[in-house]
Symmetry: C2
Subunit: 181 residues, 2 copies
Amino acid sequence: MSLKHAILTLLETEESSGYDLLKQFQSRLGYFWNASHQQIYAQLKTMHADGLIDFHIEAQDNKPDKKIYTLTNAGRDALSDWVRHPLKLGKVNDALLVKLYAGHLADQSQLLEEMKDYRDNHQRMLNTFRAIEDEYRSSTKKEQENLALPYLTLRRGIIGEQACLDWADEVIRFLKGARSR
Amino acid sequence: MSLKHAILTLLETEESSGYDLLKQFQSRLGYFWNASHQQIYAQLKTMHADGLIDFHIEAQDNKPDKKIYTLTNAGRDALSDWVRHPLKLGKVNDALLVKLYAGHLADQSQLLEEMKDYRDNHQRMLNTFRAIEDEYRSSTKKEQENLALPYLTLRRGIIGEQACLDWADEVIRFLKGARSR
DNA sequence: CAACGCTATGCAATTTTTTGCATATGACTT
DNA sequence: AAGTCATATGCAAAAAATTGCATAGCGTTG
């Protein structure tokens, strides 16, 4: 159950609504955590019941009310507890690779289209990450120090996305060659 | 529900027992699919009930009996159906990155240890993949053609693991620097 | 002015995954 | 002789994730 810890981590930096968290997961944290809104709202409810977080309602103009969540002391404790304990290795489940493995059953041109989509998606992600990196690099030294660890997670995104692109290009090159055979 | 398709894919190449599939997932397919034995046996049971696979018992000397599963025609159809339909993007959930993001709450030297473990694990994976690649490269042209697509999935592993190592080195360099500050 | 997308929240049913337990044989170690 | 590891299979309960549905106001686009 690590969505809990991902949420605690975000709230530790900044109080947020469920929707805010969703947006964070969809944008800059997309590389390392994904969760649906249903998952997030349910998790927040549980965590509130468990006393890890508090909330207050914030009314907005022209927009629905928000429930702004903040960490409680118990939440902060749970987070530092978790950070202190070693993780087991994360698991990888990549359906695209399964599909490629069984690719001889598919139409090669269709596979090629799917790989191009894959490449486009990762190019978009890489662009987003690079933009954030530029922002970081042009911030003050003080700010850079404060954000050093989040910056390293961003680096994971950049290095990882670049690897996706390199690989995708290899596959696309192969599939184009195969088409002409 | 893609464990189903991962299993169909493996069985399409070679009939296997649940235990064989587990070993495959743990070794060379570890990069793109992970599943526990409980999950695999349960899934095989469901798939058999759904008529996607058949099995026969194989007695062995000095070892327990095996249930060898093979694809039925319905299974083959289900697999090519799946391969023909586009996927939605896979999601990433990487707890180590969450942890690093919240790393200021942890002991830096402990974080460093964890990153070293991470690096070692990925180095091991990379070595395994490279060994398989060497094997592939020294096989006949005919074999290479037959295994072209699985080879591309292996390439994903190699490129991805190399990216892990590059990133881990960046982080380790940073954490070592931070320790001395 | 109808349709759609964005903000913002949530429930309920189902599916999938995890965790813990269970069994059995043979080989190797202490 | 007892303990552990590898092979080989599985059940059951609990936790987590997915899928489908629902509400509601505001702004934009056709």
